[in-house]
């Protein structure tokens, strides 16, 4: 039996669908990350689960029990918010104890559990302080301690790390996973940041426009996206998307346009052949563009694209290079694309044209109209700008 079942959930505000037929399950002890751009419906979904908003249609079940009409405080859900929702007039101890006291927990249990939770998150020396005397990271640990003392049936996190500086996030993320493992209860974690989703989740649901686009591991989403939205949203820098025409030339299948002429890999040629004479979107991850003589495959004219280097961003691993397609005689503004290298591109290549080898065995193909992957299926997606 699933610990949590969300079945065709719908939420409408003024006849506008914020959440549109969302379904997923969570097992006991599982953590699901809900990720998507702002306005995609992820926070609304979380609020429906917490009972903070009434459901328009569909069902939420905790175990076998339908909880649609159950009040938030009777659902026994623990929530951690972006702003931590800490009471400024209460001490750290009372803030952590708040959820227990409001549930009439015996005093001795409160006295035992609060310092224990505070110790887990290294704030046991701060129990007598008021929140304004704490740093952002400490406040966040108060919110986590408050969730820790509870025995909730479901734990919900809404962007809990957004207000923390980058260097504090690593520890905070570990703290959240500690809490999750300790409790072993179903957990949903909402974020707009795909890199955070990658770091946290074994199971990630990508949302857009009120719909779940794909649920899977980080590797599923990055290497086998079902549609162009998921391909674009997961990974930074984003995947390069080129709208090209499919041409069949005997055994060979080519994708052409925008000054490009690329031969599709035999493993994909079959799928692409159905699109002969039609448009597809060809997706190339920045990591799959290579300096020709350093490429892990033989680069030919039919696997090369040329670009003019606009910007070079140094990274600890090498560089991220921002280019504009060259060789497009159409007169319109040339399309931009991005490549990541494991070596540092010297500054003298700025404004120069360079050739790049495309690892055609790793590209993605999408229907130009629907955005659906030709290789990994999936439902219609809104095509990103």
């Amino acid at each position: 039996m699933n610990a949590i079942t969300v079945d065709n959930l719908v939420k409408e505000f003024d006849r506008k669908r914020a959440v549109d037929r969302v379904s997923f399950e969570i097992q006991e002890g599982e953590l699901l990350v809900l990720v998507g751009p702002s306005g995609c419906g992820k926070t609304t979904t979380l609020r429906l689960l917490g009972g903070l908003e009434p459901v328009s249609a569909g069902e939420i079940r905790f175990g076998e029990r339908v909880v649609n009409d159950i009040r938030p405080k009777d659902r026994n859900v623990a929530m951690v918010f972006q702003d931590y929702a800490i009471f400024p007039h209460l001490t750290v101890f009372e803030n952590i104890a708040y959820g227990l006291r409001s549930r009439r927990t015996p005093r001795q249990v409160v006295r035992d559990r609060v310092p224990e939770a505070a110790k887990t998150f290294r704030i046991e020396h701060l129990l007598a302080r008021k929140p304004r005397q704490l740093s952002g990271g400490e406040r966040q640990r108060v919110a986590l301690s408050r969730a820790m003392v509870r025995d909730a049936s479901l734990y919900l996190y809404d962007e809990p790390l957004s207000n923390l500086d980058a260097q504090l996030r690593y520890q905070a993320r570990e703290d959240i996973l500690t809490l999750h493992r300790e409790k072993g209860r179903p957990t949903i974690y909402v974020t707009h940041d795909q890199s955070e989703a990658m770091a946290l989740g074994d199971r990630i649901a990508v949302m857009n426009a009120g719909r779940i686009q794909q649920v899977g591991s980080g590797a599923d989403l990055y290497d086998r996206p079902v549609n162009v939205f998921v391909a674009y949203f997961i990974g930074t820098p984003s995947i390069n998307l080129f709208e090209l025409q499919v041409e069949v030339d005997g055994d060979r299948v080519l994708a052409t346009g925008s000054g490009l002429r690329l031969e599709l890999h035999p493993s994909m040629a079959g799928e692409a052949r159905r699109y002969a004479g039609r448009k597809i979107k060809l997706g190339v991850r920045p990591e799959h563009l290579h300096v020709p003589r350093m490429a892990p495959f033989e680069v030919t004219d039919d696997t090369t694209i040329h670009g003019i280097v606009n910007l070079v961003e140094p990274t600890s691993a090498g560089s991220t290079v921002y280019l504009a397609l060259s060789g497009d005689g159409a007169g319109s503004e040339p399309q931009d694309f991005v490549a990541t290298f494991k070596v540092r591109l010297p500054a003298r290549y700025l404004d120069q044209e360079i050739p790049l080898g495309v690892d055609m065995s790793k590209v993605h193909l999408f229907d130009a109209e629907t955005g659906v992957s030709l290789l990994h299926g999936g439902e219609t997606a809104a095509v990103p700008r």
Partner: protein, 373 residues
Amino acid sequence: MARIEVDQVVKRYASDTIVDREASRTRPALNSVSMAVADGETVSVVGASGCGKSTLLKVVAGLEYPDAGRVLYNGTDVTYVRPQERGVGMVFQDYALYPSMKGQGNLAYYFQVHDRTEEEAEQRVRETADRMGVGFEHLLGRVPTTLSGGEQQRVAIARCIVRDPQLFLMDEPISNLDAKLREQTRIEIRKLLRKFAITTLYVTHDQQEAVFMGDRIAVMRDGDIQQLGSFDELYYTPANLFVATFIGSPPMAVLPVVVAGGEVVVGDLRWRLPDDVRPAVPDGPVRLGVRPEGWIVDAGDGAVLRVRHRERIPTERASFLYGSVGGAAVAVATAIDFPDRSEVRVTPEWSRAYFFAADTEDPIHLPGVLELF
């Protein structure tokens, strides 16, 4: 365009409470800050909240007058010149567009209040729209509420460019956007800055954004600039331990160790320093800094790292192991397919190790810029 100099600027804020007043007497918001920005250059100013980065921006803009020191534009002292006479364009986090005006009106407003002709305004707006690139034109006919955050920010930037500023000042201009939009917008801003070659100070709390936006990066802490330099300088030759741990993510591990007779002592473990490093590191307590990619995994003389937590990041083709060595938090970068293990042995790769004095946290020995070829 302008060359900017900030010369020994001190700024204190008067405070209401006695406690805050005490604090501000001992630690001004800007503590004798000096820096120079070349004509056409973008310098990112980065630091945690309260480090003085926004105050620095305000002093350069003329929104605050310093208690001591000078601000020069092209060698001319402008310390007490009013902001509207300095020719600066400012872009803030909240865009500050006029909500009742369309994009066109927002861009033309400056010319209206300065009694310029309508023809001039229109021509300048058209020129700017052309230079802003594809897709900008259609923003001119829309009011701000119908624009996305990224689009509003482009209008805000164009509104500065239309006035032909000497200097651009940006304070967290994209921190209100979600992660994906931030990624797109920062590329756009960077390209515009490069295209227009306007001298720019760019304030942010995000080190990755600072690295991306700046030709050089100024790292601030407690009212001081700790270091001003290129990414490579900050990364490979940090001025002190603070800069070393501030730049790079996951952050550098800092191990409190003792060096004795050319050996690094961590708990009951001893690492022999290689010949080229040994003379540079004197005996005594030091801080050993190792970045996630600076560890050798499973070498014979490794320290035991109990893996508390592991992050497998397919988008970076890497997995990070988190644990501790000698009581210090350590992150180790490994291959994406590195097996799940509760324990590994790790040794610093000495050519990539950083050494800092235990007391002053100044560098003793640094790896220098990595040679790739």
